[in-house]
Symmetry: C2
Subunit: 350 residues, 2 copies
């Protein structure tokens, strides 16, 4: 594919929580679009979406949908990606996939542009967008890894329900209203749509995101552990994760403990690196009660970091609080960033 001035773009899962944010960003960033195709499951096909004052009818995603498409942005669930991503590639499109379908494939770059954008050069048609909770963590930790070396990460997450889609947001709202009216809460979706049991999320905390693996960890926890090592090119980095779903709509927060390699790092050193880092906003002033929260991060593209503290016992240990909008940097914005990088660096062609 030679360098073009505008591209034929397909958004698969255009009616979903992430798909909607992708459409907003493509408009906001004035992405160079020639023709935009909106695709979805059969169920959502036929609905209309407004894009730059033009009405676009959402079509059912089938292999032929990708004829003539240059860039296909997938966020319609792992099974759709497994079925259609290769079909898109076969027809000449470059796929940026938001699901976990291909992330750990050795031939698929897993990219957070601020961390490893040069991995994009090696794509073979499919590029994977990492898990939402992974993206914000590696974006905040990469500058510290570069400056001080990084030995270890132990993270406990505080994750919003929108990570489980629009239906989960409705469930939280409905359960909250029921609870506040003294009515029984109905749980039909969370913690995991396809799992056997469902529990209320309103005024509660569920220590299960995605299904359990044989080793007792959830898939979400294993995604954070494995994706972090792959994105950071650090197979020996020690990573541990506990992932928890909480009753807020947007933004994931993370309590992160790290151990750096240097022994003489101060909180001020960490601040300095974060202040200079691309895509990171430092919000850390205890005297002013300044720290990021899910509500203040909502709608913003940056990753916010606060509560930076040196461990009281381990001089290589630090604690951080990392917050970002899970639908933006955690999903749609990282996807659009990847597409922008492919174009800017002339990396679309294989």
């Amino acid at each position: 594919m030679s360098q073009k001035s505008a591209y034929n773009v397909a958004v698969v899962g255009a009616t979903g929580a992430v798909g909607q944010k992708i459409l907003e960003l493509l408009q906001e960033k004035d992405f160079p679009i020639n023709n935009l195709k909106l695709l979805s499951s059969k169920r959502s096909a036929g609905s209309k979406q407004l894009f730059k004052q033009e009405e676009i009818i959402v079509e059912e995603a089938v292999p032929e949908s990708f004829e003539g498409i240059d860039i296909a942005l997938f966020s319609a669930g792992g099974s759709v990606s497994k079925k259609l991503a290769q079909e898109a590639v076969k027809r000449g499109a470059v796929v940026i996939d938001n699901t976990s379908a291909f992330r750990m494939d050795e031939s698929v770059p897993l990219v957070v542009p601020e961390v490893n954008k040069t991995d994009l050069q090696n794509h073979q048609g499919i590029i994977a967008n990492p898990n939402c909770s992974t993206i914000q963590m590696v974006a905040a930790l990469q500058p510290l890894k570069t400056a001080f070396g990084l030995k270890r990460i132990i993270v406990s997450t505080y994750q919003a329900v929108s990570g489980a889609g629009n239906e989960a947001c409705n469930e939280l709202a409905n359960q909250s209203k029921a609870y506040l009216s003294g009515e029984e809460m109905e749980a039909q979706l969370l913690p995991v749509k396809g799992d056997e049991k469902h529990f209320p999320i309103a005024f509660n905390a569920l220590p299960q995101i995605d299904v359990f693996q044989e080793n007792g960890y959830t898939f979400e926890e294993m995604k954070m552990i494995e994706e972090t090592k792959k994105i950071m090119h650090a197979p020996d980095l020690l990573v541990a994760a506990t992932c928890v779903r909480l009753p807020f709509f947007t933004s994931h927060a993370e309590s992160v403990y790290i151990e750096v390699e240097n022994e003489d790092v101060t909180v001020e050193d960490i601040w300095k690196e974060l202040q200079q880092a691309e895509g990171i906003v430092l919000q850390d002033d205890p005297k002013e009660q300044l720290y990021p929260t899910p509500l203040t991060a909502e709608g913003k593209q940056d990753v916010f970091v606060g509560r930076v503290r040196k461990d009281l016992d381990n001089k290589q240990g630090f604690h951080l609080w990392i917050v970002s909008d899970n639908l933006l940097k955690g999903a749609a914005w990282n996807t659009v960033q990847i597409a922008q990088e492919l174009i800017q660096n002339n990396w679309l062609q294989r």
Copy 2:
């Protein structure tokens, strides 16, 4: 004081969130009460409380209130304890104090009965009840410390608003209703009543509980760190904490990473110790999606543990999820347990 069959008991802060739970427990456990005096601030004095079908008028707490009292249970805030606890002791009462006023005093036992009840023997009139988030953690970890040795704790908390009192619960309910109706949320109390700025807690997470200390940690975090070492008699134990307030009413949850001393401990070994431990309920079966949550722990006196996993890199490392009702084991129930132990072991007298 010689052994009696029934005691004159004063409850200071009787109208508060913890005071109310203490009254419920004194009834439920048929605590041997001769005369019950309910005390409060001037503002709440005059209100009536039902105790075993008898109406008791709440009186303003003054030094003379403690004449003839054997056991005084304080939960009216640190300033009240600092003003009146010694007055109660002077008049012959043993004080069990729920505030942070005396916890780190060397002469004051800080007690979780399942962990260090024999410390009660050394009291000099005042006994401190630990911080809510500390109690449930040490209760769950002490059996593991005894069996396998304990080197290190890194905890991230998920704390309910009731830890900040009834007013904070009202604030969460009101903000939630406002948000769901599309109205602006009013924040007048959380994260810390006496601090300068207030932020919405509904559909949010606030990484500040209690005021910030000079070292960048909050007082809640320092309480967890210092109290844990004191209760466990482990000055060299490495403890780190990050404390976060969340939008649920009751029960604190904790994501806890520990390192034990033994190298060959398995998840099954941990399960076995927890199953045999007093006051602990193991709820850990990933196949059945069984794990504790704030809602399922609410109203129960036990400490619930689930999500026990061996760290994937460190063979001495384990991850646990610990949940308990912050008003019961975290406050009122631990207080009443201490009073029971004092009586049963004839440790009231100094």
